[in-house]
């Protein structure tokens, strides 16, 4: 409205000599401050670059934002908690206001956490926000990773950012575990005891590393202050550093976008950061904060007072880590006992080491390496700023689903005792079932999801060629019946045809032009095999020629809209 009228006003006075409108007093002041800052820091250029940045609009692009905000909320609430928390394993009798623990000897860490929960005003709420936000942080960053993976947003030029994100994810687990271990309640102490066992299962160096970490035998007094330093100082610094790099790279690369009319690899269609996204994203921060506060006000998390103080002798039933460490715990529960054996007089606890220690770096290495592996297979060196629809890259999607399946099997295995008691089943059967599922389920889900992708693609193809079944039956004068197929509009059609489906690499002959065996023959052969695995099952997008042929062939199928024009537009766009 206002832009329109001001534009008209500008038209009318087009010939006038230029005169800027007198700035209001506050605008003058703001301008003065801005130029004062700019003259001293040169920030204007960078700020205008940032504020003019355009972002595309889609809910799935906000998952990363949820992670970012959860992390910020953790930082804010963490500062509050650190004002009262005492990171010390020194034993004192409890004198606070929670009666069922009155007079019990406990560590200062636990006592001060009880103090935060019961004697600091609003302390329990902040503690619960801190913990729920931590869980939400890992949940949202995982789902954000799923989005990036399934849409192929990790492809060139974003491989480095994918690796950074992978590192952020792994560090978030460690940061979370360090925080979980700090209050020194029965559960966190049990977690630390388990961690000590894991470290000692590392062949050769395990027991030395454990002695160094704990400053002697478990539990000792050193671990809590050390974990505290790691939790509030070291890891947050690394997390924030990597996170900043992550965001800067998003700015540098520009945001990816879903395919659509007018969206190309060279542009970003959306709204600028200022004012649209500052308002939206700023508002979203408060929404996330509000929702997390609501959850924290209504639902207990980690009721440390119920667990009681840590004491190495008792272990409670239902001792589990927070969900993000569940997969490692689950792997531990699934590994068979015969993996512990003696070798040259030394005990090798592979039943512990493989699941609890080795699994985490292995999983993250595979995750981080995926973009490079895929690039090697596809040989695709181009930049990609348009996202894939998951169905259009069936093998990648199926690989992702299979990976998530094995992760889920491990994660649910960590809750085998809870499943057993809640569903009244035998824990032995559940564990055995998970052991089998770990090998079988990923294969099954891989196959099923690839088939689903392909059938969805075929459906898309069908829709593009023959339009949408409208449900309207028409009888022709000569007595024939047919169903009217409503043709897709150009915008909808674009989304269904705007993708590539490369054919697998041809098997190399292994010889060069002169018939001499090539040095790289083996490597090329291997690559061709992988390419076959990746691209054999595929559905090609509808070409303009096919579309035109379909229209020509089944003219009565379409209500007469300018179909030719649509096909033409697509053809033109594809030649861009």
């Amino acid at each position: 409205m206002s832009t329109a009228s001001s534009a008209r006003a500008a038209d009318l006075r087009a010939g006038d000599p230029k005169s800027s409108a007198p700035a209001s007093a506050s605008a003058k002041k703001a301008g003065a401050v801005a130029s004062w800052v700019d003259e001293r820091t040169g920030i204007a250029k960078g700020a205008s670059f940032m504020l003019k940045k355009v972002f595309p609009d889609h809910w799935s692009f906000m998952l990363g934002e949820v992670a970012m905000y959860s992390m910020i909320i953790c930082l804010l609430t963490g500062v509050f908690l650190s004002l009262w928390f005492i990171p010390s394993a020194g034993q004192i009798p409890y004198e606070g206001s929670y009666l069922p623990l009155k007079g019990i000897t406990m560590s200062e860490a636990y006592s001060s956490t009880l103090g935060i929960s019961f004697d600091v005003r609003g302390g329990l709420l902040i503690r619960q926000i801190h913990h729920w936000a931590a869980l939400m942080f890992v949940v949202s960053l995982s789902v954000h990773m799923f989005r990036v993976f399934f849409t192929g947003a990790f492809r060139k030029p974003r491989e480095i950012n994918w690796v950074i994100g992978t590192m952020l994810s792994m560090l978030a687990l460690i940061e979370g575990f360090a925080g979980y271990s700090l209050p020194d309640d029965l559960l966190s102490g049990t977690g630390l005891r388990a961690a000590e066992g894991f470290i000692r299962s590392v062949p050769i160096v395990g027991s030395y590393v454990s002695y160094m970490m704990f400053g002697g035998a478990f539990p000792g007094e050193a671990i809590i202050p050390r974990l505290y330093a790691v939790h509030v100082l070291l890891l947050p610094a690394v997390l924030i550093g990597l996170f900043t790099a992550h965001i800067i790279l998003v700015m540098v690369h520009k945001h990816t976008q879903y395919s659509g009319p007018g969206r190309t690899n060279e542009n970003v269609v959306g709204f600028p950061l200022m004012p649209v996204y500052t308002a939206k994203a700023g508002g979203f921060f408060f929404l996330v904060f509000g929702l997390l506060s609501l959850i924290s006000a209504l639902v207990t998390i980690n009721p440390i007072w119920a667990y009681g103080p840590y004491d190495p002798s008792p272990v409670t039933a239902g001792s589990q880590p927070d969900w993000y460490m569940g997969f490692a715990d689950g792997a531990l529960r699934l590994l068979p006992g015969w993996l512990e054996f003696e070798l040259f007089g030394f005990t090798l606890s592979l039943n512990v080491f493989l699941g609890a220690v080795l699994l985490i770096p292995v999983m993250y290495t595979i995750t981080g390496a995926y973009p490079f592996l895929e690039r090697w297979i596809t040989g695709d060196n181009r930049e990609h700023h348009i996202l894939d629809r998951p169905r259009n890259v069936p093998t990648r999607t199926a690989l992702g689903v299979a990976a998530i399946t094995s992760y889920l099997v491990l994660m649910f295995a960590a809750g085998n005792d809870i499943i057993a008691i809640r569903l009244q089943m035998s824990i032995n059967d559940i564990t055995r079932a998970f052991q089998v599922l770990f090998f079988v389920a990923p294969i099954l889900t891989f196959w099923v999801s690839r088939r689903i992708c392909l059938s969805l693609q075929r459906h898309d193809r069908d829709k593009v060629l023959h339009g949408r079944e409208s449900g309207t039956l028409v009888r022709t004068p000569d007595g024939q019946y047919y169903e009217v197929h409503e043709e897709l509009n150009e915008f909808d059609r674009w989304k269904l045809v705007g993708f590539e489906s490369p054919a697998p690499l041809a098997l190399p002959s292994g010889k060069d032009a002169n018939g001499v065996a090539s040095k790289d023959a083996k490597k090329e052969l291997r690559r061709a095999k992988w390419s076959k695995f990746f691209f054999t099952s595929r559905v090609e997008p509808v070409t303009p020629a096919e579309l035109a042929a379909a229209h020509h062939h089944g003219e009565h199928e379409a209500i007469e809209t300018p179909a030719g024009a649509g096909a033409h537009a697509i053809k033109q766009a594809k030649h861009d």
Binding site: V66, P100, V288, P314, I418, I421
Partner: protein, 260 residues
């Protein structure tokens, strides 16, 4: 009637119809459901009565003189406390063979009958007697009880007494809503997979303290909000994945729909 007929395709019609059907079935069932038989025993000789009751109801599995069979253990020496616990919590008579006798709210026998059977079992050989009211309801030290509970009980019954899994479908039951007397009896008789905690392990004061602790945990308000069943981090993880994530995605989607 016309107004009703006009609304028969209302979206809520199916839900309403289902609700009515279910309500009707429920009401009919409650009318025809079999009622537990009531039979009062009013004889002075408890042991003889107990013997009669035992032979009529328990001997199939436990043997005609409680010597035990393939299907049930011997009851010689288990004492009246074991009978009071097993029958008083509805675990016995066992309704179906299973890995473990479940607690059933509907107790099959009256307190007199249970006492009579207890007297009969106690007459076979000495065993733990039913604790008197004063012992069970003695004032306990809640903090001490908590410590004893964590050291001795929480590895199976969970930190808050919400129960935990044992091997092959067996389990340590939740301890909410259990009478103090029955908790005490469970400790002195060690039913099913549970070990016996006699007075040398945990003295009477300690037992009373554990009971006080459990009752405190059960009745204290949930200061942090809903406790998600006191199952530990698994339920928290499930909650944040289902409700937390749904809330966030819903909000993100809603915000995305807002005009820029």
């Amino acid at each position: 009637m016309n107004a009703l007929a006009a609304r028969r395709r209302h979206p809520a019609a199916i839900a309403l119809l289902l609700f009515l059907g279910l309500a009707l079935v429920g009401a009919t069932y409650s009318l025809f459901a079999p009622k537990p038989a009531q039979a009062a025993v009013a004889t002075a000789d408890k042991v003889a009565d107990g013997k009669a009751l035992f032979q009529a109801n328990c001997a199939t599995c436990h043997g005609i003189s409680a010597e035990g069979t393939k299907s049930g253990p011997t009851l010689i020496g288990v004492g009246a406390a074991a009978v009071d616990f097993q029958v008083g919590t509805g675990r016995m008579p066992l309704s179906a063979p299973n890995v473990q006798a479940p607690r059933i709210e509907q107790v099959k026998y009256s307190q007199e009958q249970i006492e009579a059977m207890g007297a009969f079992v106690a007459s076979l050989a000495p065993g733990p007697a039913v604790p008197d009211k004063a012992t069970v309801e003695a004032e306990g030290d809640v903090a001490l009880g908590g410590e004893l509970f964590r050291v001795n009980c929480s590895m199976c019954h969970n930190f808050a007494g919400s129960g935990g899994a044992l091997t092959r479908g067996k389990y340590a039951p939740a301890l909410y809503g259990v009478e103090a007397k029955h908790i005490y009896e469970a400790m002195i008789t060690g039913p099913q997979s549970m070990p016996v905690f006699d007075d040398k392990n945990i003295d009477a004061k300690g037992k009373a303290s554990i009971i006080s602790y459990l009752k405190t945990v059960e009745t204290q308000p949930n200061v942090g909000g809903m406790n998600l069943g006191n199952m530990g981090p698994v339920s928290e993880g499930l909650f944040i994945w289902i409700f937390g994530l749904a809330l966030m995605i819903g909000t993100a989607y809603w915000l995305g729909q807002k005009a820029a």
